[in-house]
């Protein structure tokens, strides 16, 4: 299998070096993702969605009668010049007709792809990216954010935490987040919102990636004994070690993991131990039962191919490709970027959960058809408690008071 992969890979070189003599009639799309480095895990999740979408399109006769050909680029850890090389390679050299990126960086990607006109779908989920867009909406008109920013997601987390059917023993929260853009953004927003309603942010800790010895922090947490502990570290290793060391001597606190609940290994590793933790997924797919048969069919198909539950990013990346394909079909020419972009902005797309429309700043803000889903781990799997907006309970799944909370 691996050798096969490698053969394909080396073929790719020759195509890269060699002339384009034998380029068949295909529609090329670019997929710059983190294939190596710290973010390779999330990159893989997006990839699965994109791969699934293109396969579906190709199997059903392709787009405008042409097969879609994916050209990948490893954006590694989003070093500015790497991202720029990716843009120049995919758009400049390979002349792809759209970019499906998932998490592509924190602003550098917008600038890099903004130089071109091909629609650029990204899931940066961070304010700096949006700020770059805002700095010149004309120039960056081909940028599409397929999820909300960390700030918006944090607001939704706040809504959920305050909506929980649970009597908080006190008004103290501890917030632990990573030292990166995403972590800071969520941390800041949450502490702002909680302070506003008279809570005390008893501890705000910013930790670097790779923190696995939580003794010093937990010591303080245990003395504080807060009502909520929120962890925002988009990396499985740290959040698992935190939980293991927390549960050793737990406090009466709701554990809110935010986005950190979504990396595949978290549940794969902790299983039922994780029961009781709450977390969210932007543009998520409610589970264990999808909102409608069509969505359920998709979920089943996904799990059948990839043998695991739907991770963050897969579904929305899938939807991104589909929405673009929809626009291309409507326009009838994948290279008529002006028209394709116009259609994407105005027409909206009938997704698995309903009609999705791009809102302010070319963003698929959380909306009924692409909601932020808040889950609780219940017997080892994610169970949707709420969808937002509007914040409303999902089906009749009930919040369970975590086992470590003593009455």
């Amino acid at each position: 299998m691996k050798t096969l992969k490698f053969l394909v890979a080396s073929l790719a070189i020759f195509m890269f070096v060699g002339p384009w003599a034998f380029a068949a009639e295909t529609i090329k799309i670019g997929v710059p993702l983190a294939m190596t480095g710290a973010y390779a895990g999330s990159g893989d999740n997006y990839w699965k969605g994109i791969e699934m979408a293109t396969n579906e399109i190709n199997q059903s006769g392709g787009l405008l009668g042409k097969q879609i050909e994916i050209i990948r680029f490893d954006s590694q850890e989003f070093a500015p010049e790497i991202v720029m090389q990716g843009a120049d390679y995919l758009c400049g050299k390979m002349k792809v007709s759209s970019i499906h990126a998932g998490w592509a960086g924190w602003g550098q990607d917008i600038r890099a792809y903004g130089k071109y006109d091909a629609p650029f779908f990204c899931d940066d989920g961070a304010m700096p990216s949006v700020d770059v867009y805002k700095s010149d909406p004309e120039k960056y008109y081909n940028t599409y954010f397929i999820t909300d920013t960390g700030g918006d997601q944090a607001n939704s987390m706040f809504n959920m935490l305050t909506a929980l059917p649970y009597e908080y023993p006190n008004k103290k929260i501890v917030i632990i987040n990573t030292d990166d853009t995403w972590g800071m953004e969520v941390g800041d927003t949450l502490s702002k919102r909680f302070k506003k309603i008279g809570w005390k942010v008893a501890k705000r800790e910013t930790v670097p990636y790779g923190t696995n010895e939580w003794g010093p922090i937990l010591t303080k947490v245990r003395r504080i004994n807060p009502a909520i502990i929120h962890i925002e570290i988009p990396s499985s290793q740290e959040v698992i070690t935190f939980f293991r060391q927390f549960i050793k001597k737990p406090t009466n606190s709701i554990l809110s993991y935010g986005w950190s609940i979504t990396p595949l290994e978290v549940l794969a590793t902790m299983g039922k131990d994780a029961d009781g933790i709450v977390g969210e997924m932007p543009a998520g797919m409610p589970a264990p039962v999808a909102p409608n048969p069509k969505a359920q069919a998709w979920v089943d198909k996904y799990m059948d191919i990839y043998k695991h539950a739907i991770p963050a990013g897969s579904w929305i990346a899938y939807t991104g490709v589909m929405a673009w394909a929809d626009a291309v079909t409507a326009v009838g020419d994948e290279y008529n970027f002006k028209a394709v972009n116009k259609h994407l902005k105005e027409a909206g797309y009938e997704g698995l959960q309903g009609m999705i429309k791009f809102g302010e700043n070319n963003t698929w803000h959380a909306q009924p058809a692409a909601p932020i889903v808040h889950y609780q781990v219940q017997n080892g799997q994610l169970v949707a408690l709420y969808t937002d907006p509007p914040i409303k309970p999902y089906k009749d799944y009930k919040f369970q008071v975590p086992r470590w909370i003593k009455k």
Binding site: F6, A9, S10, A12, I13, F16, V17, M35, T36, G37, A40, I71, R72, F73, D74, Q76, E77, F78, A79, P80, E81, M84, Q85, G86, D88, Y89, G92, K93, W106, G107, Q108, R111, K115, A126, P128, V132, S135, D179, D180, T181, M184, P208
Partner: protein, 316 residues
Amino acid sequence: MVLILGGFYCVMGILPLFFANTAHIMNILIMILIWAVVASCWDVIMGFAGIFSFGQVAFYVIGAYASAILSVSLDIPPVFAIIMAGVITGVLGVIVGLPCLKLAGPYVALVTFAVHMTLIPFLKGPLGRAIGSGGSQGILTIPPINLLGVAFSSEHLVPFFYLTLFLTIICTLILALIIKSYWGTAFLALKDSENFATSLGISAFKYKLMVFAITSFITGLFGALYAHYVGMLSTKMLSMDVFTILMIMMVIGGIGKYPGVVVGAVVTVTISQLLAPLGMYRPLIMGAMVVILVLFLRDGVIGLAQKISPLQRKFG
């Protein structure tokens, strides 16, 4: 040596005429120019002065951040910011040099690499934010260089290319002078036997400090140039990947075989570009390359050339 370098830069100078419109290629060419100089500096430090420095990437990044911060936070025009960045890096180079030039081989590597490692948490952390490093998000709005109404940036590749080429040639000349001058011989003497050299009245410390200062200055200068080129910076530039790529340039070019390292830069950047679509197989192959090259291409391409044709010797 003069022939090789001259030929190289002439060719580089012509290339844009063919590739002016393909941003992708221009980008590669510009990166080749920048890396060529940075790697050359490292070669002068390691190969000629025999200082076992692992701080090259660190100085590069310091220069980049210095210029970015100066121009973003203090609104200093990029042209001056770049020069100031070079000076700052040079001074830091001296400060780092003072303690470690008294040390022996691996310890110098230790100290300099420790500086490299310290930069990451520093720039990401509150201290970094305080001076405007933008934390782990980095700096995303670095203004382009603007000279006499001409903008030089990733948006205007051709002018930027020639600006870089111009600076590259100047710096290359400086480095070539160092190597060919009395210093060069002094360095080689130092490398062979410090005691011997000292007995000749060559003050190891003085010369090493000088070469440290000069190379850090140039490195910082090009770091700054790079910052204004891409317009964005993050601590990712300190990743092991960049470090290794720089190292491969030296291994291919041959340590102390200037200008082999320039050839090394061309080869490495190109290969790394060709392999980019391979994803994780790119670093895999790069790694294997280092191992094989270190084992079998001991003096790099120049060494090879020397072996093949005795004529080449005088360039070594």
